[in-house]
């Protein structure tokens, strides 16, 4: 063989063996994706809980009528499409034909109607929307009609939302569950439930009869393909172990890795460090129902005193993972993002805070701020904010609790003045938890509730934008919550996990394992 021929052969061989990282790479079927998660899901019933980890795991199993495209607008998923009539009060939704549940049965309106009703009865945003629903009926096996009391700009968003989602379950699964949680985990998704071994793993396997949508993947919609044979969601509560596991190849994916590891991980050729952006806000929620924070001037003084950069730096640690933005919605949400009305964010004015406290007649009553070290960004931001508040004349009693205690106490207005939390992304501004009245903190204001009502009715994004701007004005004048800043999480994946992208809604469909 000539030298030339050998060179060509060697080149060919190197082409075959080199990992192809180009975009044109053909996805490979097979393998088991091992995902190291922060913990155990408290339930596998999506209608039951707003815990984000439940959504992340189970929406590989269950699907919804609608889902979100890249810019967080609702697009059909199990639905074929819909028409709106009667001045926006009647939605006629046609269902896709030939969509099978994991038990082999075809999905029809007989499953969709009770699923929506159950979600409207149990889901947190479901209940909010269901106040406006008159009745849901099955017109024929593939048509569902939703009659509304008044038009709703939020209905499709609600049906598309993955958190506490309007998942479609088989009718008999819901009948067996009664008022309790479902006991069989059956959906129409690309992966089916296999087993749950608590503290060990949740195993999903490819659903062979999955009916994928024909159009290419777009955001979270379009064609979903289960490339891997199985997915193992493994609870790994210790962040150092999650990271070490991905570094050694034990896991392909590690969730919520500390952001200060970003620079180091970027240098590791075997890993990919993904920024989950947008993700959420870090927030201090004042108590509007009882105590010192019911005084608007005191709340304004609290907001005026804060210098957000050191607070967010302490909370997140790496500039690539936070953003100082006072707007209620994210730049990634298109028209919903606006700076208009954002008047009081990041004032850094001790003098103004002092003057406001004086006007309020504040006499050094301790402000009870409850926070937790279970989420270190909550504790760290509270710590720096406390110092800034004290420099402005506040007296702060920072109480560090475990998370379970915090979520119980924040429901009792007599037990706190401020609590730490994070608000994750809600695609529909009108459904955002951050601005609801019936949530701890009880920010209820006639003018705001009226505006929210209008927003729930309005479907035109431009008109909604104007409402959001008015809402932001009210938010900062009344200091509904104190938004400290946007924060982003870091997910780490191994390079052999292809097609993955870090996003606020974790997904492993259209993701495959290279050899």
């Amino acid at each position: 063989m000539t030298t030339k021929a050998l060179t060509v052969l060697a080149l060919l061989a190197s082409l075959v063996s080199a990992p192809a990282t180009t975009a044109q790479e053909t996805p490979r079927a097979g393998g088991v994706i091992k995902a190291a998660m922060i913990g155990e899901p408290p339930s596998l019933d999506l209608h039951w809980t707003t815990a984000v980890i439940v959504q992340q795991i189970t929406w590989h199993i269950y699907e919804t009528l609608y889902t979100y495209d890249k810019s967080f607008s609702p697009i059909p998923m199990l639905a074929e499409g819909h028409s709106v009539a009667d001045g926006g009060r009647r939605y006629t939704i046609t269902l896709r034909k030939g969509v099978k549940f994991h038990n082999g049965k075809e999905m029809t309106s007989a499953d969709v109607v009770p699923s929506l009703q159950r979600w409207g009865k149990m889901g947190t945003s479901g209940k909010l929307l269901w106040k406006r629903v008159e009745v849901v009926e099955a017109r024929d096996p593939y048509t569902v009609v939703i009659h509304l009391k008044e038009p709703s700009g939020s209905l499709l968003y609600g049906l598309a939302e993955p958190n506490n989602a309007a998942a479609i379950y088989p009718r008999e699964v819901m009948a067996a569950a009664g008022d309790g949680q479902i006991k069989e985990f059956i959906g129409t998704g690309p992966y089916r439930f296999v087993e749950h071994k608590a503290d060990r793993h949740i195993k999903l396997a490819r659903f062979k009869d999955y009916a994928a949508r024909p159009e290419p993947a777009h955001g979270w919609g379009g064609k979903r393909i289960a490339h891997a044979d199985e997915i193992l969601f493994i609870p790994v509560p210790d962040v150092a172990v999650r990271l070490a596991g991905v570094e050694t190849g034990e896991y392909h994916f590690g969730q919520n890795i500390k952001q200060d590891q970003h620079e180091r991980l970027k240098r590791n050729p075997a890993l990919e460090a993904g920024v989950v952006k947008p993700y959420g806000w870090i927030t201090a929620v004042p108590n509007h129902k009882q105590g010192i924070m019911t005084n608007k001037k005191v709340r304004q003084a609290f907001l005026a005193a804060l210098d957000m950069d050191p607070i967010m730096a302490a909370g997140v640690g790496n500039k690539a993972f936070y953003r100082l933005d006072g707007a209620l919605f994210y730049p990634e949400q298109g028209l919903a993002h606006s700076q208009s009305g954002v008047t009081g964010y990041n004032q850094k004015s001790r003098e103004r805070a002092r003057a406001l406290l004086k006007e309020a007649g504040y006499k050094g009553e301790p402000v009870r701020w409850i926070t937790t070290k279970e989420y270190d960004w909550m504790y760290n931001t509270a710590l720096v904010a406390r110092q800034q508040m004290e420099e402005a004349g506040f007296k702060v009693d920072l109480q560090v609790l475990d998370w379970a205690t915090l979520v119980q106490r924040r429901n009792k207005p007599e037990l706190f003045d401020i609590f730490s939390t994070g608000f994750t992304l809600r695609a529909d501004p009108a459904l955002a938890t951050a601005i609801q009245c019936n949530w701890p903190g009880w920010w209820c204001l006639e003018e705001k509730e009226r505006l929210l009502g209008e927003m729930l009715r309005e479907g035109d994004p431009r008109k909604r934008r104007a409402m959001i701007e008015r809402l932001q004005g009210i938010f900062y004048d009344d200091v509904g919550r104190v938004k400290l800043g946007d924060y982003f999480l870091m997910d780490v994946t191994r390079k052999e996990l292809r097609g993955f992208r870090a996003s606020p809604f974790l997904t492993f469909w259209n993701v495959w394992l290279a050899r």
């Binding site: 809980t49 493994i234 150092a240 596991g245 979520v407």
Partner: protein, 314 residues
């Protein structure tokens, strides 16, 4: 002897009753409740109240306690709120990793601790003795989780010899199972071996000063026979007590190591149950640990009999 055994076993009952009641009351008085954890961060108070009712947590505490006693008498530990299955099932599933981990850790502790203690006593005040005791001091001062994390870094991440975390059950083969338990067992066992070494050394030193040792030496018995046959057998009693305590501590105390190495054992179960306020699971595991403590103590007491014929129980 039979009477003694029966008496000891019967004494377990009131202990259990006290432990059960204290565990129940303490857990229920602690703030936080499972309903708000299950409902998730964005749930409203209405959702939490509904869940609270569905879980039966809105019933008066004494009523809940009586109901629990009732089930307990029937041998039923109740159902986990979070895992939606019987507590006893959840416990049985976690026993394997914890028992194996505890067993290996104790074995490592004994195999290192006793020889180190004996050698230190035999070569009292020598360089060997001093270096063993210095090591033991370090061992006692280093928390096992730190040792665990260091081992993960060296053997898992840098050298890549052992899996960094996770548990391979016995059914997946003995070798994978051993590999997954090696680092956690060593980090637990090393720390306990320090304690065993110190106790063995001091009790050996006491025994070696006894007259009968002098007598055996003067009748011309070899040093080996004196130390290992005559002295060790008498010196081992306090060590045995410590091993018993170690075993009991490890059963309930592998909590941290199981978390660090992500081993789904009893320790992880109780930690997650506390964080989620899964009352029935916490109560069940606490009871089990109390039973384990009592039984291990009984076994240790019985082991004295075979080692020291002077001991009699009536």
């Amino acid at each position: 002897m039979k009477v003694y055994l029966l008496r000891r076993l019967l004494a377990v009952v009131p202990v259990m009753l006290v432990v059960a009641t204290v565990a129940f009351v303490l857990i229920h008085l602690a703030p936080g409740d499972p309903a708000s954890v299950i409902a998730g961060p964005y749930a409203t108070q209405d959702d939490i109240t509904r869940l609270h009712h569905q879980l039966g947590l809105d019933q008066p505490l004494p009523l809940q306690l009586v109901k629990w006693y009732g089930r307990l008498l029937a041998g039923d530990l109740g159902d986990s709120i979070f895992l939606r299955r019987p507590v006893s099932e959840a416990i049985v599933e976690r026993l394997e990793p914890t028992l194996l981990l505890t067993g290996w850790a104790t074995l490592i502790a004994v195999l290192i601790g006793i020889p180190a203690g004996v050698l230190s006593a035999r070569y009292h005040n020598s360089a060997l003795d001093q270096s063993f005791m210095a090591l033991a001091l370090v061992g006692l001062s280093v928390p096992s989780f730190l040792l665990g994390l260091l081992m993960i870094l060296v053997f898992g991440v840098w050298l890549g010899w052992l899996p960094v975390a996770g548990y391979a059950p016995l059914e997946s083969g003995v070798w994978p199972n051993l590999r997954s338990l090696l680092m956690p067992a060593v980090s637990l066992g090393l720390v306990q071996s320090a304690l065993i070494a110190r106790i063995t050394r001091s009790s050996m030193l006491d025994v070696l000063r006894e007259q009968y040792i002098l007598a055996s030496r003067s009748k011309g018995l070899g040093e080996r026979a004196v130390v290992y046959k005559h002295a060790l057998k008498n010196a081992i009693i306090p060590t045995l007590t410590v091993i018993g305590i170690t075993l009991a501590i490890l059963i309930g105390g592998a909590v941290v190591i199981e978390t660090v190495f992500n081993i789904p054992g009893l320790g992880r179960l109780i930690i997650s149950a506390v964080l989620r306020r899964d009352y029935p699971v916490i109560q069940g595991v606490v009871l089990l640990i109390a039973v384990a403590y009592t039984l291990v103590n009984l076994l240790v007491d019985l082991a004295y009999l075979t080692l020291d014929p002077r001991i009699r129980y009536r």
